[in-house]
Amino acid sequence: MSDSLAGRMGPGTPASPYGGQGSSANLADILERVLDRGVVIAGDIQINLLDIELLTIKLRLLVASVDKAKEMGIDWWEHDPSLSSRARPPQQVAGPPETTPAGQQLALENARLRAELAELRAAARPQDLPHPDPAREEER
């Protein structure tokens, strides 16, 4: 307990070692800590724990797929009740796959396949074509 503020900072450091994180920290860094980390206790407001559990899953889906999905013009999260208050109220849900209506699932699947296809094409093209002059192709 003797390890006070001065002790924890080491010599010559500015007044607070936390100055940089309070307000300027990246939202993703903060969210992953306050939602995913920290001591988890079930408070008296029980529903929040469940909600956050679900929300965390949703956030994961969101951050994992938003770039690719946006490229494809998909924005299901904007209509997702657990990510937007504008969307319809949530019905009974069991998990992320069930919360996504069939059409959106199809769209997502489509996006995934397209991305995979593009990747495969990019990977296959240079190698599968015949190289009349391999030496030249191999040069850096």
């Binding site: 070692p17 994180q21 903060i30 800590r33 920290g38 408070g43 529903i47 951050v63 208050s85």
Partner: protein, 288 residues
């Protein structure tokens, strides 16, 4: 925002707990120095050797309905997360505390005390383990586009004698070949960047192995919220003695030198969110 809640009068409040620490002047001072996030001042609620950092919050806004609504809106969630973090962060600058997960709410202070009593031994143990430690975040990104930007133009990189737009020799590459070569270079850059980033991430773990006490691998960040260029391929949190933070920073210096496709990002010091709950010894499938 103002609604008629029949069961709860307008003045009804609940107790929102941000963190738990050792009862004493340091935590009291932390509470005094902090304004609650628009929900009233912070205070400490003590029981035995421990105390919780608490603010009274309106029951309607933080009850089940209110919280559900807040958490369902990314903007509100972000505000709540930042407010929660600001309190934890400021408190940790003064004294060691265990950050609680967002939106841990009790009906009243008596319930908070009961929680402290029930979990006292585990809290005390965790506080002892984290005393004098901070969390540092290290993210490694692979960014092939940055690598491409750092490279000279493909044509210019070749023999200066043949550089130029119109290769006169018959053996010189036509547009198709040039395209293929470009694709190939792109692909190679891509692979190089990812391979190099992986190596840098592993190298960093080695570099700080004698400085950090513990490491937790977070899920790599992706997408809009992450908001950084390139792809995050490693997202580690390290538990580091506060007096060795500089040393840690120095150890990272130059980790990605000469690798334009790799970026290293250091965040923190953080309150030790990622180490507040000791990892279960070996209980697979057990809920956290």
């Amino acid at each position: 925002m103002t609604t008629d809640v029949p069961a709860a009068p307008a003045t009804a409040t609940m107790s929102y707990v941000y963190a738990v620490g050792r009862a004493g002047p340091a935590l009291d001072a932390a509470a005094r120095g902090l304004a609650g996030p628009a929900d009233g001042p912070l205070r400490t609620v003590a029981s035995g050797p421990l105390a919780a950092l608490v603010s009274s919050v309106p029951a309607d806004a933080y009850g089940e309905e209110g919280l559900r609504a807040r958490l369902a809106d990314l903007t509100e969630l972000a505000a709540l997360a930042r407010a929660h973090h600001a309190v934890v962060d400021a408190a940790y600058a003064r004294t060691t505390v265990l950050p609680l997960r967002l939106a841990t709410v009790y009906l009243d202070d008596a319930r908070v005390r009961a929680m402290l009593d029930e979990r006292g031994p585990a809290f005390a143990q965790a506080l002892g383990r984290l005393e004098g430690q901070v969390e540092l975040g290290v993210k490694v990104y692979a960014d092939p586009r940055a690598a491409a930007a750092a490279e000279p133009e493909p044509q210019a990189a070749e023999d200066p004698a043949t550089a130029g737009r119109t290769p006169p020799e018959p053996g010189a590459p036509g547009p198709g070949r040039a395209y293929l070569r470009q694709r190939r270079q792109q692909r190679r850059r891509h692979q190089d960047a990812y391979r190099a980033a992986g190596a840098v991430a592993a190298g960093i773990r080695d570099r700080v192995a004698t400085i950090a006490l513990d490491r937790v691998a977070h899920r790599p960040q992706q997408g809009e919220l992450a908001g950084a260029a390139g792809e995050n391929i490693a997202n580690d949190a390290y538990l580091v003695p506060a007096r060795r933070v500089r040393e840690f920073r120095r150890a990272l210096a130059g980790a990605a030198d000469g690798l334009p496709g790799v970026r290293v990002e250091l965040t923190g010091p953080w309150a030790p969110y990622s180490f507040a709950t000791p990892p279960p010894p070996a209980a697979p499938g057990e809920p956290r």
